[in-house]
């Protein structure tokens, strides 16, 4: 879709436009797809951070207490779930972005404004989902690390610290729920309006 001059500004208006007005001309598709990339990439950075923080403690503690090895892999699985939240949101967001092929007669500015709304909502969905999953991954990782170390010393503490980890993994879920509501308003329809 070649937007052209959506608000029909004259040359004089272009000369005196503020930066805020020019900011509106950043393509809505850029915002949408960049939101997708942010959602996925930051979620996966969070998941990997959690995996290595937990993995290092798990492997170190298993040297002296080999019995903890299999049970504590659940912390790693919680971190992997954070990455899956990111993938789910990315796929939902990709589904929202369709090609606009045409627009109703003389309604280019409404069409562009609707698309811009969609672009902004997808971008900020990506930010909210991505950052929540980043924080969630770190939280689950640090808690899982403590869980492995405690379990190596005192087996009764495993389940108790696992409860803390479950609370931590709820953070990612909150991000996904808010993200789904946030991107529900975005619509790029084939005939724009």
């Amino acid at each position: 879709m070649n937007w052209g001059n959506p608000y029909d500004w004259t040359a004089v208006e272009w000369q005196s436009a503020t930066w805020g007005e020019r900011f509106m001309y950043i393509d809505p598709y850029f915002w949408s797809y960049f939101g997708v990339a942010l959602a996925l990439a930051t979620s996966i950075i969070g998941a990997s951070w959690g995996i290595f923080v937990t993995g290092v403690s798990l492997l170190g503690s298993t040297v002296k207490a080999p019995r903890i090895r299999s049970k504590n892999l659940i912390s790693v699985i919680f971190c992997e779930a954070v990455a899956i939240y990111g993938v789910i949101m990315a796929i939902i967001m990709i589904g929202k972005v369709q090609t606009i092929e045409s627009y109703p007669e003389n309604q280019m500015s409404q069409c562009y404004t609707t698309a811009l709304f969609g672009g902004y909502s997808l971008f900020w969905t990506g930010v909210s989902v991505g950052l929540s999953n980043l924080i969630c991954g770190i939280a689950v990782g640090v808690t899982g690390s403590g869980c492995a170390i405690a379990d190596a010393q005192t087996p009764e503490t495993f389940v108790k610290i696992l409860v803390v980890e479950i609370f931590g993994s709820a953070l990612g879920l909150f991000g996904v729920i808010v993200g789904i509501i946030q991107c529900s308003g975005a619509s790029f329809l084939k005939d724009c309006l």
Binding site: F30, L40, P66
Partner: protein, 159 residues
Amino acid sequence: MSDTDTIEPSAYFFGYIGVASAVVFANLGSSYGATKSGVGICSMGVLKPDLIMKSVIPVVMAGILGIYGMIVGVILQGKVSSITAQSASKQGYAYLSAGLCCGLSSLAAGLSIGIVGDAGVRANAQQDRIFVGMILILIFAEALALYGLIVSLILSQTS
């Protein structure tokens, strides 16, 4: 209606940023994974030389990340060269996003593989029951790069 004659030039700019970022970030992750685990293997191998070949697994898994980056880079390069005029700028941004998804996911996975691999091979030298646990954690870390690859391939199919 929509202009079907001219292709928005910036579409190529953003598309090729996508190609570059897929390859560059994936290779960064791959190299971090290989070097960090490699240092662990070299330290551990001084005292337990028989375990060296088994411990090379994290390095191999990190190497796969570079291949993911190359695959996505090659696929995206073909797509960017054939951007259609109908939705040129949309395609350009989609390919940027695809490249970033694959590259940054592989970077994150490489960080994880490196650090876990380093700790894992050193711990494996002291306790052989750790080997299976280390492999399991490395597989979970590798799967992160795979998720990035999958979403990149979905994004590269935008028309």
